[in-house]
Amino acid sequence: MINSDVIRGHIDTIILKLLGEKDMYGYELSGEIKSRTNNKFDIKEATLYSVLSRLEQRELIASYMGEKSLGRQRRYYRITNLGRAYYKESLNEWRLLNEIMINTLGSDGS
């Protein structure tokens, strides 16, 4: 399980990446993150949904009402063009960080 301080700066990137692949609603996104990271990154739903609200405010993602389930509609999130641009930028940043860490620590840390 990863320390949440280490990954905090990259949560936005992860969410934008997943929403870039497919529109999702909040809980679906939480399940997707858990399954893709083999439960090593157990993002709290309190954090995830708050990030969604922040990203929506910054217009990096947008939401719309989707299919009905049990009489209630779900709110789906999709990535905006601004979000895609931001994602590319964060990805470059991540690559740079990755490179720095590998160059200094070595690829296996030894």
Binding site: S4, R8, I11, Y25, G26, Y27, S30, K44, E45, A46, T47, L48, Y49, S50, V51, L52, S53, R54, E56, Q57, S69, L70, R72, R74, R75
Partner: protein
């Protein structure tokens, strides 16, 4: 489903300014309700689904984790001012009650003078100043 909304409202008590908070409460509540729906669809009884969703949700610190440090500090400040306000109010009420009681008990000794009223007005500075400090942090 009101249980979920009141849980979320309680979780965010004293954090964020009013508009951000309204939006956040709405989003958190809806996402939690969607989770409950999913669990119910998968065969969990409604009450258990609500309980489980609330238990797994996380704390107010987890909510703050979603925000950059600056905003996080601000929210913490608002929360601490809010707590100080509550403390000041409670202390004020206790002091007033005590003074009033002493005044009442020895009213003959004080020549029927209700001086406790003056103390009550004077001591108002404490909760009032805390109230304004809270409003200032919240703005």
């Amino acid at each position: 489903m009101n249980k979920i909304k009141s849980f979320v409202t309680r979780l965010l008590k004293g954090m964020f300014n009013d508009q951000d908070k309204r939006e956040l409460i709405e989003i958190l509540t809806r996402s939690l309700e969607e989770k409950v729906d999913d669990l119910v669809e998968a065969g969990t009884p409604v009450q258990e689904a609500i309980k489980r969703s609330i238990n797994e949700f996380g704390s107010s610190d987890d909510v703050l984790d979603a925000f950059p440090d600056k905003e996080k500090l601000r929210s913490k400040k608002i929360k601490s001012r809010f707590n100080k306000l509550i403390f000041a109010l409670a202390a004020y009420l206790i002091v007033c009650a005590l003074v009033l009681f002493v005044n009442y008990l020895f009213i003959d000794f004080f020549a029927n003078y209700w001086w406790s009223g003056i103390v009550a007005i004077g001591a108002l500075f404490w909760p009032l100043s805390m109230f304004y400090a809270y409003l200032k942090a919240k703005r």
